[in-house]
Structure formats: structure tokens, C-alpha cells
Amino acid sequence: MIKVIVNKKLCKGCELCTDACPLKIMVLGDVLNNNGYNYATQKDQDKCTGCMRCALMCPESAIEIYK
Amino acid sequence: MSQLFMKGNEAIAESAVRAGCEFFAGYPITPQNEIPEYLSWRLDEVGGVFVQGESEVAAVNMIYGASCAGKRVMTSTSGPGLSLKAEGISYLAASRLPAVIVDVARTGAGLGQIKPGQNDYWFVKSPGHGGFKTIVLAPHTVQEAVDLTYMAFDLADRDLAPVIVLADGVIGAMMEAVTLPPFKDTYPDKTSWILNGAENRESRIISSVTNDLNKLESFHVYQKELYESWGRKDVMVESFMASDAEYIIAAYGTSARIAKTAIRILREKGIKIGLIRPITIVPFPYEAFEDLPYNNVKGILVTELCIPSQMIDDIQLGVLKRIPVHTFGRGGGFIFSPEDIIDELNKVFSLED
């Protein structure tokens, strides 16, 4: 099982992870974080292959992946 | 004349265009970026030349070259960039080349902060090696920034010397209504000294070096006389509610306009206070301070957007310690409010007691 955790405090809602995810399962949520950004979440955890593309791409190091 | 609501930096740039600036070279630095940005397209429109230099060093030397060609030239920068232009400004002065240099001052030495500050006063008093001076004009409103920039070109051409317009981050970044001056259509004739190819005349040299030491010394004597002549005819100073004042605020640029608000508030309370505002930093209006009615004036507060005070010595050269002179400033890019000045006045002079 793969677990992708987005640190909502760090996320700036840039969407680079959503772009990088080959399965397009990273998306921005509706809620703003303290800095005023819509932060990213993984919408379909089961599909995730743990390819780490999202995490590699994230400029904020906001994504941690567990296996 | 219609009034335009303009950003200080852009107003300075447009004023330069109207003053006939035909060549501008600069390098990005906050808080003056709108000057090169504006001129990058505007000069093209009027047939002038804009070059983004690879550095401030290159930029000042580009205007050195264009000034040799007889063009009206300008460069602009802020603190760190002015340091890098020091050698070039010294060369301009020593080669007798007119040029306008705008410094939109920020706070702090080193990188400091891009927040406003009046931190370059000491530096502009002799902004380079070798013992030279330039006229330094210090506007306190956007309108005045426009007017002084416009005038700077004429002074530069008159003296064949660089002239500095010393603004600060507030003047550069703020917007205010201005009336722009008309486009200049006549300029001084420079054909007697510029370089444009030695056709049908002797060849010329523009140089800050000469092996003829007597000539060099004559130039130094000339410089001395020039600076003395500025003191006689180019001093500009505003006296604001100062004629009957018992207390004087001495301030230039942005801190002067803040002081004006403080003075209005205090005058409403019946306190006799006024402002003496140097418009020219060089030549400094020593006389305005020498000739104060010392039987009436009880004290002076020098307010600047920097710590420590940089204008105090010039003030004392006029005041000669005859009455107490205090200083008040904020560093770190903070801007004091009119209320802060009032508090300080109360502290040092117990004004409202």
C-alpha cells in the first residue's frame, strides 16, 4: 500500500503535482490554508502507484510518500 | 495643464523624456525599477536609446559614452547600485561630462532592505573617490521629483557635470497628481566639445587624466570655484511656517512631507513650529540655518528616515551649536508618522506641556 501525505501548511497550491501525476489523482481542494492557498490532496488513494512524481516535482517538499 | 495621477518613478522617467533625455542606461534594482521599465519603451517612441546595462558599472559607463556624443543622458539606481557607479560618477565629474543620476534610496548599508530610507545622504555628498562634488537635488513630492529631474538636465549641461536627483523609496513608489512639464525644444549647443569625428576640425580628447599636471591642478582650482558658485546661486530651500517659529524641524524629501503634516497638527494647537527643508543637499542651504532668528528659535529637530542622522553635521555648520539640535529617525525601512515626530518633539522640547 502507498500513502501520499500532503503537508497542507507547506502547500502553495501550485498544481505542479497535479500536472506531474500520471494518473491525475492529485488535485487541489476547495479549502484555503492559512496562507490563502487551495492546497493539494490525493483524490484516489488506491490507484496511486507510488511513482513519486508528485513528490519529486513539489517545490515545497510538501509531499511525503510511505510504502 | 492637466493633472495626471502618476507613480513617482514613472513621473521622473517621463520628466526626463520631456527634458530631452535621449539616452538612458540602467540596471534593475528596487525601488526604482519603473524608471528603466518605463524608459525601455518610452525612449523608443521618441527616438531615444534605452540600454539595459549588464551591471550598474556598465550602465554608468554607457551614459559616459553617450554624454561624450553630446546626448542628454540619465541613469537611475538605488543604494548598492550607486556604490557601483561611484567610479563612473567620479569619471563623469573629472571628464566634465553632463549626466543625470537618479538615486531612489532604500534603507541600510549592504543589501539592506528594499524598503524606503534616506540612507544615502552621506554618500551622495561625495559619491566617489578623488574629491569631487555633484549638485544633489532632493524632491519631497512627485511633482517636485518631476520638476527637479527636469531641471537637473539643464544644470548638468550648464556645468558640464553630473547631477544627482536623490529621491527615496516613498517618492519613487507612491502615486500622486502631477503636472508634467512641456517637451524641451532648445538645448545648449555642445558642438564645441563633443566627440563626433574630427572632421574639419582638430581632433579632441575627453579624459579624466592628463599628463600636464598644471592643467590638472587648474581643473582642481576650477572645481573649487564651481562648488563655491553653487553655494552662491544654486541653493534651494523651502521655509514652511518657519518665519515666526520657535521650533524648527529640519528635514528633506519624504521625511519633510511627513513633518509638514506634524507641523499642521501642532500649529492647530497653537504651537509655533516650522520646517526648513533643503531642496538642494549639495549645495547645502547653510545660510538658512546661519541666519535663523536665534533670539526666537529655541531648538531644532532633524528628522530623517535613517539612523544615525546624516544631515546633522551640515545643520551644525549653519547653527554652530547656538541652540540645541536633536535628531530623530527610523531605520530598518520603517516610516515614521506625523504623530511619531510630534511625540519626539514633546520628548525633547516638552512642546505641549
Binding site: 502553495k12 484555503l32 496562507n35 490563502g36 | 493633472q3 495626471l4 495621477f5 528596487t30 525601488p31 532592505q113 528594499i114 524598503k115 523609496g169 516613498v170 513608489a173 507612491m174 502615486m175 500622486e176 497628481a177 512631507r257 511627513i258 513633518a259 509638514k260 503634516t261 506634524a262 499642521r264 525601512g333 516610516i335 508618522s337 506625523p338 504623530e339 511619531d340
Partner: protein
Amino acid sequence: MENSLLIAGFGGQGIMTLGQIIGYAATKSHLKATYYPSYGAEQRGGTANCAVVIADQEIGSPVRNKLNHIIAMNEPSFKRFEYNLIDQGSFFINSSLIKITVKKEKANVYNIAASELAMDIANIHSANFVMLGAYIAATKILDKNIVAETIDDYFTHKKEIAKISLIAFDEGFRQISKLGGKGCHDTTFK
């Protein structure tokens, strides 16, 4: 007359645009005006704010720490400037993003759900104009039509934005005019 306004919020909320439009409109109205953006490192992410002074005489300081009016678009700026408001000053609050209540006494507080209203109109980016409408309606510091004209001029090459902005401006104005309406309530002299 001399009136000092501070507009504050996140970078990207159109804070600077608002300040400039008020300045342009004041100039158009033959008033004196200064606009001073607080520029600085803080612009990246953090708060952005600008100061606008309108007066009928020469303006001294363009930056004041005693404010007649505040337009606060987000919580951090709300907190930062709350105590700079003078007594009897007016506080315009984007209640969509600010959930705290004004602690300061003797303030006129206008809560406008600007972000939500803007979303209803087109998108969140016109929340600033909702606030502007409310501000003009409540303070009457400038003529509504002159401000509207100014908005139109400002976006002269962006007709679509001009249209949306004007709708948002009207909506904000309407909120105050109909006082007590949805998302807006007057909490004077709390």
C-alpha cells in the same frame, strides 16, 4: 478634509489595483490624493497593503498610522492593522475570509462577504471591487459614477475584466445601500 485609508490583504487579491483606482478617481474629482504601496519582501505570499490619502489640500505624509478607514481582505492584515483605526473610523471587512470580530471599540464595522459575492458574479478575483463598492457607498468619499468611470478607464484594454469589475463594484455598493442585506451588517459602536 483629509482621509487616510489602508487596504490590506493577500498578494493577488487586487489590493494595489484598488488603491490606485481610488487615487485616480480622487484626482478626477479634483481632490488631492496619494497612493503608497507597501512594497517589500513580504509581497511574496504574505500580506500586501497600500495606503491612500485623499484630501482637499496639499497632502503631507502619504503614510499614516492613524487610519480613518481600513479595507481588510484577509485575517493577517485584519489583525495587523486593527489598532491603527481611529475612533469613529470605519472598518470594511471581507467576511468571507475573516472570521474574527472587531475588538476595537468605537469603530464602524462593515462585514461584506466579498469573496463569496464575487464568486457568485464571476470569480474570486473581483472581490476587491465588491469591497470598493461597499466602501464608496458607506463613506461617500467619492462620487459613485466617477469611480465607475475610473474602473472602466483602468481596464480600457481589458473589456471583459472591466465589465465584471463594474458588476462587482455595483454589487458591493448595493450591499451597503440596502444596509442589513445579505452578508452585510452594520455593527456601529460595538
